[in-house]
Symmetry: C2
Subunit: 236 residues, 2 copies
């Protein structure tokens, strides 16, 4: 049975890396000591090694070992062997390009469907959706496809941000961008605010954390879903 934690962000304002969610991660990863880390999204352009060190420090606090997928000669073998996977945030275009380039997009999907535990933050959350097309990131590299893991029957918008009513900036709000997405695409989009996460257990998907989420469906007004509610989409 698939089991995922899909988190809007790794870090909430004023706290340290992962600290808001570590107690839950300790339970979630109770059955395993080692987690395979996918550092491909490289936030701020840091190296795979540097990023893996960040993840290692975070998970060290709950006694988990972290190994970066880039340290395996064969990334496919790394996915096959892993009991648990963590994909960190950064640039989604870079992450998706690298997953395709290394031939592990479909393999990772199958592994999670077969029970490999999956935790993703930000870009690592975005790729659990049907496509990466509701990312906030800059297209710094051209991926072979926008299709992603499709482990949930909708798209994710991480770091969801409410319109700033005091702003003088004329760029589109997040809500406007997602509306534009829905002029062309049909799948629902879940705007996950920082500090929120989705818990996927088989076909059940629950919104956790202290905040509500913003739900966008094609042809409907956007609406709020309260925390601890079941996500009203799926199973496939």
């Amino acid at each position: 049975m698939k089991k995922l934690i899909i988190a809007s962000t790794s870090t909430v304002h004023g706290s340290t890396y992962l600290s808001y969610i570590l107690p839950r991660l300790q339970e979630f990863f109770a059955t395993t000591d080692e987690i395979l880390f996918i550092p491909y999204a490289r936030p701020g352009g840091i190296t795979h090694d540097e990023y893996t060190e960040v993840a290692r420090k975070g998970f060290g606090k709950i006694g988990k070992r972290i190994r970066g997928i880039h340290t395996f000669e064969d990334p496919k073998e790394a996915i096959r062997r892993a009991e648990a996977v963590f994909t960190g945030g950064g640039n989604t275009f870079l992450l998706v390009t690298q997953l395709y380039k290394n031939g592990i997009m479909e393999l990772l999907r199958q592994a999670v469907l077969d029970g490999t535990l999956y935790f993703g933050t930000s870009a690592g959350a975005n790729i659990t959706g049907l496509t990466m097309q509701t990312t906030n990131d800059m297209p710094i590299v051209y991926p072979p496809s926008f299709k992603t893991l499709g482990l949930v029957p909708f798209n994710i918008n991480p770091h969801y941000l409410d319109p700033d009513t005091g702003s003088r900036h004329m760029g589109e709000t997040r809500e406007t961008r997602i509306k534009e997405f829905h002029r062309i695409n049909t799948q629902p989009v879940i705007g996950l605010r920082e500090g929120s996460w989705l818990e996927v257990s088989g076909d059940d998907i629950i919104l956790k954390g202290e905040l509500s989420a913003r739900i966008f469906e094609q042809g409907k007004e956007a609406y709020e879903l309260e925390n601890n509610s079941k996500i009203p989409f799926g199973p496939f």
Copy 2:
């Protein structure tokens, strides 16, 4: 000789569509009565007709006729016949996809190199750069390529936004995103604030409007370029 006005935005806060730049547009388009409008970016998903009506109203104030490229049976013929082109803002992925689909990306480039006047705002500004990879837009559709018109020897970031030092949001700042771009790509990026525009006249490119622009070069600290300065890149 190529002549372009590359504007960060169509509208500045608290004023009407194009009004901040209409006096300059009147001079720029002095030699022509009709402007071909490219509405492909469809802001907020409005139709090509609706968007063309917006442009028509704006340019009506300086006595110009606007015709939408979608009203021509052959968009290639429309580009070949035009003395002046205006590409409006909206979603850059949609705009670029449509330009390629209609086979007019290269044709538009050649036309501008041959002297067709070009004015672009936001997404319509972004595509004058080497690639669309410093857009702020959501990837709502998968374009055949990120390569754009390459009429200037750098990339554009329209609606450039300084970091909000009071923000509690953990999403990447614009500057961080552009730094990530430069871990992979070498071309300079010009962050054009709303109300700024570039005037291109052959190989000369001048920053106009009342604000400075933020310049990003690979491997350097970002810096400010004062208004009325020459852009320090190019010719090709």
